[in-house]
Amino acid sequence: MTGNNHIQLDSNGRLKHFLTTEGLSRQLLVEILDNAESFAGVAHRAVKKVPLLRGKTIVNLFFEPSTRTSTTFDLAANRLSADVVNVNLATSSTSKGESLLDTLHTLEAMHTDMFVVRHSSSGAAHFIAGHVAPHVSVINAGDGQHAHPTQAMLDMFTIRRHKRSFETLTVAIVGDIMHSRVARSDIHALKTLGVNDVRVVGPKTLMPADIESLGVRVFDNLDNALQQVDVIIMLRLQKERMLSASIPSESEYFRRYGLTQTRLRLAKPDAIVMHPGPINRGIEIESSVADSNQSVILQQVSHGIAIRMAVMAMTLGSLSGSLAKNDENPDN
């Protein structure tokens, strides 16, 4: 299977578009994490801005509603001193491809340097990257059920801050794997960073076909899956899954796959609990777990800004190698 590298990387092997974590080298993923580490310090300064992308125009092109992702992209671009345009296009599933391309070219004519794209169709960011002018970069902010690479990298960033090395970790991803772009991007990133034991947990109705081919182990029993786990990534359950006969009810789902204090004790004592948000308390996670000191859900949100700054700066070619070495005050 080939990845998307021919389109993600430029001729020098540097990140040109960020569409998926699949197929990128471990070195490149670590470089993103290192750069994000240096940007994380910016948030704690009196002036939270660096001039790296001054004069650049970034368009946030959201075809799907989003609060937290679009906000953190907006903040990230602002902190890099870029000019930001937020375009929210509520679309139905009937939206035509030609109008997508027309929209794109119209915005491109405004001398856009980067598109941050969220779209309900898998492959949409890939499609857009294939149709923009050569100088324009594209960052995927979530495409259908395919990929959400910046979410995956902020998850990796959060894990790295809490755990010493990826190689020895056991990670469980729990819930609606089938419809989750976060799960897919997390799996690719975890495997590339060296995690051997990645477990996906959920009923067969929410498990995509042949998911084992991505190098994960499949569990339908959460209690079994949580044994000796270091990291638990809970996924959001969409309400419409009841209508598609994927689960019988929210309460039954919680009974079987909800993360409770009791269940959490099956994992390692220092296990961390993550969630891409927004959380459904009492459906996939017990309130007391979400608010416990093992929960790192809010840290994930703030790490998202640093990761997005790193990826934006790298794709626009404003960073040569890692910033971490020469930045004055990396936040540890």
Partner: protein, 426 residues
């Protein structure tokens, strides 16, 4: 008009012929094959030295664009493409716009086809009114108007009860039912074969059972009703197996496969290749192998182009928003010849899948070089290689998955009822 095609290798699967010689044609009909006709004075002489002379191709499924709108592809444009590809007869499925469910639509298509005159077009009538799946179409009237079979194309039938009644009625009208087996509820919103690729690409999957459940239902109802059933465009190994067993048990069933499924798999969709967005979807390598094996052992009787010319707009979008279909009619014969080169099929076998077998399925006296048959024939230069360039296709649809493929075999002449329809006369 007297025509003599000289010194060609004459290959005629219907009569088991493979010899070097001449074909004599008079008034659009084959007068003699191989044997000289005393005193024959041809007005037109075609030298076929080092070339093959074969029956024109019969394609059981090709779409020529919407008949209602003056769209990009039309009967005129696609007939020229068909003639250049050696296809002298095509069957048009009923799910066109408008749907082929009344004699008036059949007449409209027949008139346009007659005006173009480049290829013979047979219509397949609707099985249910408007293809809506809830009322029987006027199958007898459609048959009288010229429809060669009936089908509900890729549209669902409301219930198995209605499917049963439709089969019964078709049987009593002596019409063959063309079945595109797909369970629409199992297909759901799917756009790609269910498996590792759909999971990686995050595209809505189509399970194998979307095909096999429908094949199973149709086979049981065909057995019960006694209708002649032709299964269109099989895509899975299991379905091939089911057809093989049905044939063994003596059911009057036949089947075809489209050329894309013999050459492409789900892997070709990788990178969101919209020209590989097809219906039924491209399947696994094992399925492709089983389809080829089915052709070899005779479970699958015919190969179709399933030609579907689409505008650029229909394909310029994220994968799941594009329309399924591929422009393939110009690649049908070269790819069949390639199966001979690969030693998967003999020359006679390869040609019978696109000539005599489809003629038999349609119960038409075509696809043969027998004396007295209509002179639908082609002359092929089997050694001429060419590279597919989508922009140079004669079809208005440039949506081919075979762009850049190097193929062997070029049509040098196409005759329809003894008239040269390709190359166009100056």
């Amino acid at each position: 008009m007297k025509i003599q095609i000289t010194n060609g290798r004459i290959i005629d699967p219907a009569n088991g012929l493979d010899l070097i010689g001449s074909v004599y044609i008079e008034d659009g009909v084959i007068l003699s094959v191989g044997k000289a006709v005393a005193g024959f004075k041809p007005q037109h002489l075609i030298d076929a030295t080092d070339q093959w002379v074969c029956p024109g191709l019969i394609d059981l499924s090709a779409r020529f664009g919407d008949h209602a709108q003056q769209g990009l592809a039309s009967i005129a444009s696609e007939s020229i493409a068909a003639a250049s590809a050696g296809v002298t007869t095509v069957c048009c499925p009923p799910d066109t716009s408008p749907v082929i469910d009344t004699p008036a639509v059949v007449e409209l298509i027949n008139q346009r086809a007659a005006r173009s005159g480049k290829t013979r077009i047979f219509t397949i009538g609707a099985l249910t009114h408007g293809l809506a799946g809830d009322r029987l179409a006027e199958m007898y009237s459609l048959q009288q108007a010229g429809c060669v079979a009936v089908s509900n194309a890729n549209r669902p039938v409301a219930s198995n009860e209605i499917l049963r009644r439709a089969f019964e009625y078709a049987a009593s009208t002596n019409l063959t039912v063309f079945i595109q087996a797909e369970d629409h509820t199992l297909r759901n919103q799917g756009v790609i074969n269910e498996g590792a690729f759909s999971t990686r690409l995050g595209l809505p999957p189509i399970p194998e059972t979307a095909e096999t459940v429908a094949v199973s239902t149709a086979l049981l109802l065909a057995e019960q009703t006694g209708v002649r059933a032709h299964f269109c465009r099989l895509s899975t190994a299991r379905a091939v197996n089911m057809i093989a067993r049905a044939k063994q048990s003596g059911l009057p069933v036949t089947a075809d496969v489209d050329i894309c499924h013999l050459y492409l798999t789900e892997q070709d969709v990788d990178g969101y290749n919209v020209n590989c967005h097809l219906s039924p979807p491209l399947r696994r390598l094992e399925d492709q192998q089983a389809l080829i094996q089915g052709l070899i052992d005779g479970t699958i009787d015919a190969v179709v182009s399933d030609h579907y010319p689409l505008s650029e707009d229909a394909k310029v979008a994220p994968f799941n928003l594009t329309r399924p279909g591929a422009s393939t009619i110009e690649m049908l014969l070269p790819l069949m010849l390639d199966m001979v080169t690969r030693k998967q099929l003999s020359t006679l076998q390869a040609l019978e899948k696109v000539t005599s077998n489809p003629a038999r399925i349609l119960d038409q006296n075509l696809g043969s070089l027998g004396v007295g048959c209509l002179a639908d024939l082609i002359v092929i230069d089997p050694n001429q290689s060419w590279t597919v360039n989508r922009q140079n296709l004669r079809s208005a649809g440039k949506n081919t998955p075979f762009d850049g493929w190097e193929l062997m075999g070029k049509i040098t002449h196409t005759l329809l009822k003894g008239q040269t329809v390709y190359p166009a006369l100056e």
